[in-house]
């Protein structure tokens, strides 16, 4: 008996009948309703203990208009057998609160703070009551994701400083950096507490770029959401648009044609390659080894032009559409040959870098993230894999055509968790991406590129998971009764990976921060929606 087949009875037994409407959907999703405040925590403990399933997403939803409640949805995933548990809790609209599970799982702490800021649903007994997303100049009663939120006439800064944790002691001083930086990067405030050059604490304050992305999805037709999803994080066009499209396709029960699924693999891997290669150059640049940077950017340019041949856009925009893909492979393009030439150059650059003893000295041992810390943060993507956590949505929850590849590709996992490990993971992944594209290219079936998206059932939840180049991206969607988007919740891996950076940097020296930060390279925009 597999875990999933015994899950239903175990769940009913464990929650003593408090789990209602327990139903299996789409073969591997168990949906249920939970009632009492403490049930979510009991559920999380039970799932971790008995099933190795972990919380991956919390979604708040304002359904007061037609259902007279707020909803909190908890999504758990089990990677070994590829199943999900989706639990919904309804909250009374007057003074809604949830029982915090912050002390049980750190990402829950952040989801709860986010929900508190955007919905005004307070987590009870939460150890950290500071705002996360909320800006100091939002009015007290302004909760932007509530359906009845009215945009204030003008925002006034209340002038209070953010309550950073204070670090004291002899010889400790603070270095505040940002939110405006010297490079062309997004805003983020980094506050170092240092003794000499050694960092003893780093506080990261992000959320200076709140754009209301999730709110912007509301009221859009499914197809209109794609262009928004493409722009959630500029470097993750395919990752986000694919997760979004998969979610609405799941919701509509639409089967994507085989050729489109193979093309989706190619597009997603192209995105991975160009980001990994460009970032390798940026990492070398941060050690002052400009030569590698110059050449990686040359390769990046070749890849971007390849992208343009594929979809007419250098960042692959327009590549994914609901029900399929936007463009077929250009006839004249020998994609594997192009990529082989690029990866050959890349391997040469990598070889030169790894032969450079000064560069290696900078990478090795810098910014160590232990496996325990990574696990505690629910870290995703190459951050997790560099710290010994073997996760990859492409294998654990196969999507597109990843389940149909002829032979399994290698998922690199390193144990050290340092900058070197994160760098090498990305080098090896770029190489594997070429292998994946070659497989997809040669095995691609003929057939249509798109199919008609089915009708979206009203007020049903669905979600899509994609292994973007940074890690697992989740889009959770719900449509209203006019087939428009009612609620879209996005989780970029940056949301869980950013806080881990603080821990990776401890006991490192200040001038090594840019290198550690670059080895994480998390998205500001994807984190602050």
């Amino acid at each position: 008996m597999t875990d999933f087949t015994r899950l239903k009875s175990a769940l009913i037994e464990h929650l003593k009948g408090r789990a209602k409407d327990v139903t299996v959907k789409r073969g591997n999703e168990l949906h249920c309703r939970i009632v009492r405040g403490g049930d979510a925590l009991a559920l999380a403990e039970f799932l971790r203990r008995d099933f190795d399933a972990e919380l991956i997403l919390m979604v708040a939803n304002d359904r007061r208009a037609n259902h007279r409640v707020f909803e909190i949805n908890y999504l758990f995933a089990q990677t070994r057998e590829n199943w999900f548990l989706h639990a919904t809790m309804e909250l009374t609209p007057e003074r809604p609160t949830i029982t915090s599970m912050a002390k049980f799982y750190y990402p829950a702490s952040r989801f709860e703070r986010e929900i508190n800021d955007l919905f005004g649903i307070a987590p009870v007994r939460h150890p950290d009551t500071r705002p996360l997303v909320r800006h100091a100049f939002w009015p007290e009663d302004y909760f932007p994701l509530r359906k009845d939120a009215v945009l204030p006439e003008d925002f006034k800064d209340d002038g209070t400083a953010f309550p950073f944790q204070q670090v004291g002691g002899e010889g400790v001083y603070e270095i505040p950096v940002g939110p405006v930086h010297a490079g062309i990067i997004e805003p983020g405030h980094f506050r170092f507490s240092v003794v000499g050059e050694t960092v003893i604490d780093l506080k990261i304050r992000l959320y200076f770029t709140h754009k209301g992305t999730e709110k912007l999805f509301e009221g859009r037709l499914p197809a209109e959401g794609v262009e928004l999803a493409e722009r959630i994080s500029g470097d993750t066009t395919i990752g986000h648009s694919l997760a979004y499209c998969q979610a609405i396709e799941t919701l509509a029960g639409t089967e994507v044609p085989p050729r489109a699924r193979f093309l989706r693999v190619i597009l997603l891997e192209l995105e991975r390659i160009y980001n990994h290669i460009a970032d390798f150059g940026m990492l070398a640049n941060d050690t002052g080894f400009v030569f590698a940077h110059a050449h990686c950017f040359r390769l990046r340019e070749r890849l971007l032009r390849l992208n343009k041949q594929m979809t007419g856009n250098r960042l692959l925009r327009g590549g994914i559409v609901p029900g399929g893909v936007g463009y077929d492979l250009p006839h004249e393009l020998d994609l594997p040959a192009e990529l082989d030439a690029i990866i050959k150059d890349f391997n040469e650059i990598v070889g030169i870098c790894l032969d450079n003893s000064i560069l290696m000295d900078r990478l090795e041992g810098a910014g160590c993230l232990t496996k325990q810390t990574a696990t505690d943060h629910g870290a995703l993507g190459y951050i997790a894999r560099a710290s010994g956590i073997d996760i990859d949505v492409r294998r654990d929850h196969p999507f597109a055509a990843y389940g149909e590849m002829n032979f399994p590709w290698k998922i690199p996992v390193y144990q050290a968790g340092d900058v070197y490990a994160r760098t090498m993971i990305r080098v090896e992944e770029a190489r594997e991406s070429v292998n994946l594209i070659r497989q997809a290219f040669h095995n691609m079936p003929a057939g249509p590129l798109t199919c008609l998206l089915g009708s979206l059932p009203a007020f049903e939840p669905a979600f899509g998971l994609v292994e973007g180049w940074r890690g697992a991206i989740i889009h959770w969607v719900m449509a209203d009764d006019s087939r428009r988007m009612y609620r879209v919740k996005i989780k970029d891996p940056s949301f869980v990976n950013w806080p881990a950076l603080s821990y990776a940097l401890l006991k490192n020296i200040v001038p090594d921060f840019p290198l550690c930060n670059k080895s994480f390279n998390q998205s500001y925009s994807g984190n602050d929606l």
């Binding site: 080894f289 000295d361 200040v510």
Partner: protein
Amino acid sequence: MTGYLLEIGQALLALLLAPGLTGFIRWVKARLQGRRGAPPWQPYYDLRKLFGKDVVVSKNASWLFRFAPYMIFASTLAVTMIVPLVAAPLPFDAVGDLLAVVYLLLLGTFFLALAGLDPGTPFGGMGASREMTIAAIAEPTIALAIFGLAVGAGSTNLGRIVAQTLANPGGVINPGHLLGFSALFIVMLAETGRMPVDNPSTHLELTMIHEAMILEYSGRYLALIEWAAALKLLVFFSLLSNLFLPWGVATALTPGALGVAVIALALKLAALAVTVAVLETRLAKLRLFRVPELLAVSFVLALLSVTSSFLLR
């Protein structure tokens, strides 16, 4: 009288050449990295632009902040009058010797560090602290490396050292000479903020040393500091080339000899510039705490240079 005119001429020549030297290194680096790069004369445009701009000064800055750029510029310019760029000996040789050069350079560094601390920004303080750590090891090494030559020449007077070497060219290939050159070369990289000690082209504030101290500067103040930094590089290049390989330096003040001297200087500077550019392309930046190790190596080299000069005298 001609001697003093020559002093002024030499300082003017240094002022004129310095930005081009920096620009030339950048250009060669760009070429080596496969980029087109800005033309070598770009720093002249930059200086003109900066001199034409308004100055923004922090409210927290004191008089020191405004005074420091002039001090840094003047002290570096003064060095160019003591260092034999085109001719030796010079009338100012009597005023300042090797020790004067070292301490004039240190004076500039000292004021630069003070100016970094003055506005109270974290980056300035960080840069100043790092610069002082490096200067504390680098400055004695400069003196020591040249002492190796001074022992041979029997004088700390730079003009005398040059004249002595020219008169006795066979001495150049002794081990003290070579060790001293290596020591001074490493110190030059550290003192002028080049790789692998400092990255002159980085935008990452947290890794900066020299650039961190001058982050608050703008307009003509920044122009003066940039110009002084370029001058300092030229001074170090001249010390390296003219003390250790003095050929071309005019010993007679004839137009012909001076012309040859200027061309020789330009060639030597260009050769060193290419060397530095190649090094900067080949090297990555050292982890900050490895820098003292590198400087310790150069100090030991300098010490060996002096020792062997004594033993082989």
